[in-house]
Amino acid sequence: MKAVVTVMLKAGVLDPQGKAIGQALAHLGFAGVGEVRAGKVIELELAETDPVAAKNAAESMARKLLANTVIESFRVDLS
């Protein structure tokens, strides 16, 4: 079972990378781009086959290591 953990900076935490990407897109002539946020994605190959258990495990990995909840929020998707 594959779990995908997406980690984004919390609203209110400055995201210079997202801002820089937004500016670069504008320089490249892409119009109509509003806010840009940059985050991380971690794909985990899990031995667990039960979706609920897999999601729990991934969430606990995220809380413990993959995200810093002082600045980041995360989401787990299974696939």
Partner: protein, 235 residues
């Protein structure tokens, strides 16, 4: 003073710290491999700079979870002194021994140059050998030194006087230009409430010898070793 330097895989400024400590105290610090857990005999634990675990994922994140951190936590709980420099500061923040987090530099580039720091308080064992408001020079070398904490935390740090160093101009003014990495309120270093844990991004340990361009970092190491007891045999 018995000092130990924690070496995580990827740490690279352990020798710089050792040189600074030995110069100040006359005694070689002990190198602590990250799997060791017995830190009972130490007065000061230093977590040096570098790229622990490659700084992959987030700077300091993986080191903060390693077994030695439990012993460091216990040392801190006993009222022991802990100094985290650069990656060491990031690790202390990730381990929540100090509040806040260190984000990517606002410029998104690695910063390697001297900065100027204003010493915000001197009634701590780390800063006692400086003058209050003194401006010192120290090298920067980091990609993620942008100090962040929510407003309540920042207000508390300011209110309790737990900001140790701020980025300033040579004349002492805390301007945006002096704050190259974009840190909240120009914060370069902070203290725990008991002022025995200090984390800072710049590298005072690389400026303790006139040959390397200055000695502005030396009082930090002299101060802490004086506070924790001279090692000259009588003590």
């Amino acid at each position: 003073m018995k000092a130990g330097i924690v070496v995580f895989p990827g740490i690279n400024r352990e020798r710089d710290i050792a040189i600074a400590l030995e110069r100040a105290s006359g005694r070689k610090p002990r190198m602590i491999w990250h799997r060791e857990t017995d830190l009972q005999s130490l007065d000061l634990i230093v977590i040096p700079g570098g790229f622990s675990y490659g700084d992959y994922l987030r700077c300091g994140a993986m080191a903060a979870q390693s077994p030695v951190m439990e012993s460091i936590r216990a040392h801190a709980a006993r009222g022991g002194h802990v100094l985290g420099v650069c990656n060491g500061f990031q690790i202390l923040a990730e381990a929540q021994l100090l509040p806040g987090a260190l984000l990517r530099n606002a410029s998104l580039r690695f910063l390697s140059m001297d900065c100027h720091l204003r010493v915000e308080r001197t009634d701590t064992d780390f800063t006692a050998h400086y003058q209050r408001g003194q401006v010192i020079r120290a090298p920067l070398a980091h990609g993620d030194g942008n100090y962040f904490a929510d407003d309540a935390t920042l207000d508390r740090l300011e209110g309790e006087g737990l900001v140790a160093f701020r980025y300033v101009e040579p004349d002492g003014a805390a301007t945006a230009k002096a704050n190259r990495n974009g840190s909240a309120r120009n914060i370069a270093g902070i203290l725990s409430p008991n002022r025995r844990i200090m984390g800072l991004m710049p590298h005072p340990e690389d400026l303790v010898d006139p040959l390397m361009g200055g000695t502005d970092g030396a009082p930090l190491f002299e101060g802490i070793s004086a506070a924790l007891g001279s090692d000259r045999p009588a003590a």
